[in-house]
Symmetry: D3
Amino acid sequence: MRENKLKSIWQNGGGTVNGWLHIPSTWSAEVMASQGWDSLTIDMQHGLMGLETAIQMLQAISTTDVTPMVRVNWNEPGQIMRVLDAGAYGVICPMVDTREQCEAFVGACRYHPDGYRSLGPTRAMVYAGDDYAVNANKTVLALAMIETKTAMDNLEAIASVPGLDGFYIGPGDLSLSLFGKGVMDSETPEFLAAIDQILDAARRNNLIVGMHVASTDYGLKMIQRGLQFVSILSDTAFLRGAAKAAVTAMKTGVGQASGQRSAY
Amino acid sequence: MRENKLKSIWQNGGGTVNGWLHIPSTWSAEVMASQGWDSLTIDMQHGLMGLETAIQMLQAISTTDVTPMVRVNWNEPGQIMRVLDAGAYGVICPMVDTREQCEAFVGACRYHPDGYRSLGPTRAMVYAGDDYAVNANKTVLALAMIETKTAMDNLEAIASVPGLDGFYIGPGDLSLSLFGKGVMDSETPEFLAAIDQILDAARRNNLIVGMHVASTDYGLKMIQRGLQFVSILSDTAFLRGAAKAAVTAMKTGVGQASGQRSAY
Amino acid sequence: MRENKLKSIWQNGGGTVNGWLHIPSTWSAEVMASQGWDSLTIDMQHGLMGLETAIQMLQAISTTDVTPMVRVNWNEPGQIMRVLDAGAYGVICPMVDTREQCEAFVGACRYHPDGYRSLGPTRAMVYAGDDYAVNANKTVLALAMIETKTAMDNLEAIASVPGLDGFYIGPGDLSLSLFGKGVMDSETPEFLAAIDQILDAARRNNLIVGMHVASTDYGLKMIQRGLQFVSILSDTAFLRGAAKAAVTAMKTGVGQASGQRSAY
Amino acid sequence: MRENKLKSIWQNGGGTVNGWLHIPSTWSAEVMASQGWDSLTIDMQHGLMGLETAIQMLQAISTTDVTPMVRVNWNEPGQIMRVLDAGAYGVICPMVDTREQCEAFVGACRYHPDGYRSLGPTRAMVYAGDDYAVNANKTVLALAMIETKTAMDNLEAIASVPGLDGFYIGPGDLSLSLFGKGVMDSETPEFLAAIDQILDAARRNNLIVGMHVASTDYGLKMIQRGLQFVSILSDTAFLRGAAKAAVTAMKTGVGQASGQRSAY
Amino acid sequence: MRENKLKSIWQNGGGTVNGWLHIPSTWSAEVMASQGWDSLTIDMQHGLMGLETAIQMLQAISTTDVTPMVRVNWNEPGQIMRVLDAGAYGVICPMVDTREQCEAFVGACRYHPDGYRSLGPTRAMVYAGDDYAVNANKTVLALAMIETKTAMDNLEAIASVPGLDGFYIGPGDLSLSLFGKGVMDSETPEFLAAIDQILDAARRNNLIVGMHVASTDYGLKMIQRGLQFVSILSDTAFLRGAAKAAVTAMKTGVGQASGQRSAY
Amino acid sequence: MRENKLKSIWQNGGGTVNGWLHIPSTWSAEVMASQGWDSLTIDMQHGLMGLETAIQMLQAISTTDVTPMVRVNWNEPGQIMRVLDAGAYGVICPMVDTREQCEAFVGACRYHPDGYRSLGPTRAMVYAGDDYAVNANKTVLALAMIETKTAMDNLEAIASVPGLDGFYIGPGDLSLSLFGKGVMDSETPEFLAAIDQILDAARRNNLIVGMHVASTDYGLKMIQRGLQFVSILSDTAFLRGAAKAAVTAMKTGVGQASGQRSAY
């Protein structure tokens, strides 16, 4: 079975950089896949794609060796199993607040006897190899999002669910739930303490921790703080930011070199 | 009929900034439409969308008052008429090399007696108003691409075709055809002389001139040189550039603030 | 944040007319959006569209200032949140039978502390403005469908759920459940008594009431009876009715003027 | 090979009623196909669908025995052949102005030795039967649009092209070209004289004549005048008209019964 | 209402052959529908299609009289009702492990008073007829998948749920759950004993039994064993197998006649 | 630039096996790409896909190292350039009957000074590398179809067009044009003589020759006869053939082992 490169990197102590896909297009997915990310996550929660386009985007990512992941929109087994069958090598599940929810989530990612995933890895076998079914349980990542006060209260119970690979911090929802305002890249002591609490629970249970960030400098700080991976903004945010900068430069008369002046 | 804002700005001596769409997605189109461009052009030549998606992207642009345009993939009347019927307020036609080709192109954009466009502005009437058919000939832009040595040789003949609104310079193909290498943002005297030759022919025939550029500083120079509008890179180039910068920052450990740290 | 026009009209005592979309097409959605409806509802329960097309239809509606709503196919938080993130200004949830179900539904529509909606209003921010997240809870409509005997039995409990904006009556299912036969536009005393019971519960709890109708005369009666809005048939029913009439006219030799004889 | 019902009806002296599809949706196509039309034409010229959706709409029409036709957007052999391969039983070609253009059009519809259509009726064989290739030339309809003064001048030459089955009058373009204004359902003596001139040329050359109309009473007059078939408005026009009527009824307080009050 | 041919065949003691669709395409669906299957099942669990494509595939199947069915990806009422509204004449539900789950599933397939399906059979009425709503409960098939040890333990309780039409055996998951390895076409005594146990429970409760098989000889054995229908592989497996055989023949130099050498 | 493996194999005297795609699906394309073909050709002439799906299928093929090609539906420069920009490594052009047509075709495949292809290899650069533009002329295949008597008469003139890489024989059209009946896998002396005539012209002009065949044994004969590559049937034909065989086996009671009985 094709290895999960993320697991290999993490086991060697490295950190990984994850891209985030909101645009429902195989073309933007392929372009993103060519920029050097370790992994790409198709966001079926806050992104704009339906399932069928998500599957086609998994194909587009497979034109490279970038590890493909999906964030599902809710803790629903049918949906989780479909993206796994389509070849996702990791699933990020939002709003995992209790041990029971985490067990339901992880179970949906694992074949018997580790879980209750239904057998039928149609595209996954093409992507990963004929031995997919027997090796998937130990290859595919199950990452639970910690993004509410309830989850913080249940952190140890969630962390100890067998088969869980890691936590993924949703900083917007988490800060909204804990402190009443959804903020990205927060550096308040309270927020950083929450991060550390998550890191501690993770370490005790042999889990990795990832997080969404809105800038590379914050992302680097989080890697230094002990997280194993960060996701940087999204395709939409990149497009919006660069386009806005170009328009502003033209409208204010302060141009910028693009560094793309050379020949085709 | 809804006015063509580009024509108004140009008539007042202003220059306009045009965005360029390669991603086949209504979402990326809507995001681009919200960044302050004067116009957006759906590139059906080197972009990745088919006709039906292009039409849906015209709808997405219409959520704003950005002027929608389309570059067709070839000088084909059936295709030109379809994007006009779908509400494009301007058509950019590649590879217009002779007066006859220009007449065929402009004729496809104009109803009788100015041309041979077929009556049936299905979506255009929804977008522009019930009087579309009687006012379209003087509202919709027809822009011929000058991008070969042959076109340069026939510049005056092309420029004088009645109903033509302007030239659009394809710098890659033009430099390839004239000087043997496709280059963007060239500042060689020979290339700039070609630009000036096009500007001269345009002024004599009351045409505007646009051009594709790969950086805002070059774009500003071109506006100063006398062009009425420039297109800056493309959605794909913005996405690629910003994503690559983020990955590089993370991989080299030199982070950047994103300026997007605030609350939702 | 862009205001919710429906709320403004209702607060001023007015009634609104809602169109209903079953055809999975951005074109039919844009055509409907241009006919003067106060709001349009994309029906993801009995309509034919998947999620991705529904999102594109929300974009098509946004070419006008018609208020966009979605009926979800079931009381599922993942689905409810996705259509809100895509810019729906109201969600109609079918088969809300108990207070618990209503709390789950309303909670999915509201950010902390009013509910458990996850933060990430990707398209909603483009549609509504940058302050979407802080104002969405009081702007977005949550409408619970009353369409079973169980719901009638729990009417007061459902009505008193904090954050609920109104009831939406499903007359087909309600008459089937109450009286054994699914009927539209019923004027039996029993059915009208049920309507009045719903109206009473709504008034006591400061809720508005909407309903699906199959004719404009019945719709007008319902507005007079005290409902705040009605939905008239659907795009499919309009298409079917008008096409059938045209075919019948031709086949029977009894033509009708279309009133569309004028020039383009 | 499945017979072409239109040919049979016409040979028996009957007239046929044709529906017109602008909405790019298999659902609206299937709904239209269930209303009793003799034939349905997918309009790839002024409609909103791309080729792939057009093919799927041909499938949707094939759920009934309505005869499927396509209007192509231009006299292009590649496009004409594709819709025939997809199972269209008739092609309407716009803007046929000369005998040469008509020969090119008809040739694209016919296999050797009657034309130059390429062999490969992929879906047509599924729809029509295994003997499609040997019988298609005499089954599939080729209808040339007469819609310009040039075409009127060349009427006899166009009419006498071997293999042509009929004329299709585009009244908007024809009146625009002849009289300077695009009008539907015109009853001016000049316009009616042009119709009669087309009918005469058709009769002399054993062709049928069809036409687009905007009302059933005008359509009936045209059948009485000698035309073999008429197309009534379009799916979009039906949807728009019925929706507008419903909104107006509600807004003015003058309701209408829908006649659809009965049970599901 | 259009009859359910499968029920008729089974009532007469016959067995049926079911095709299985994984490819998200109306074209492959139509091709499959033309090969003589009694029924075709669109697999929304392990297949690659989203809901909207599944609906279009139901249309493609409706170009023939093959009975259309859908396997949903999970026991979710919203999803089950949508495919029924779209015209599926049978629903196969995975992972039905308990009586409660079976009741929830069957209830979603049945209108009041037999269940809680919401009224609104939009496409089903076009496919089946205007009396769909009153006859659907006794026409549409509800088939519960037996594919876990838990289900085997609860077999009698599941079988006795009123309104259930039959069992569908998922041999891969069942053998994985019972014997630790997912195997198709198993002929071990233990597996065959499980089949017989399911057949017994079915007979006692007047249910039919279907199963997925990977070869026609095994399929025939299962029909002989007492099953009412079998599904043979899938469109993907057929494509893969035939393509691989052709490549192998060419690469090894051992060609095969295709039996398709005759004229078009 | 990524090499064109076909050219390498042919230069070493090898023959290649080409698969043929008619199904408009990225999934069937990816499945086909995993079966060992040297190349796959997306057939935009007799296949069912539009341009946008064809581009997505090129992405799906790029998950493997199979060489991607496209058959365009006609000798149209706009269309030819689009599939090349999308990353096709070869274009097969139908109905090339004269030297002028061949020059137009080859010119559309080549950048200045070898042709008039427009610069903008949007996806091709992602697929092939940043040096695509300078190396494409010598990497991308231009294959002209010989399928009419006219083409046979002009064979030498067509063959000598600079930049042409080879002939592709369309046996159905060619036999129809030469002998009045479209036949696949013909072994009549007259047909084989035509093949040899094409082979001779090819050898004299350093061209390769390919052909469509309907069986592997005929394909092997053609390779032995001197052709460099053959295309075997199509995805649709494989699907149809295997499905029909399975249904027949079940209906006749003569089962076949599938050879796929092993574990997942």
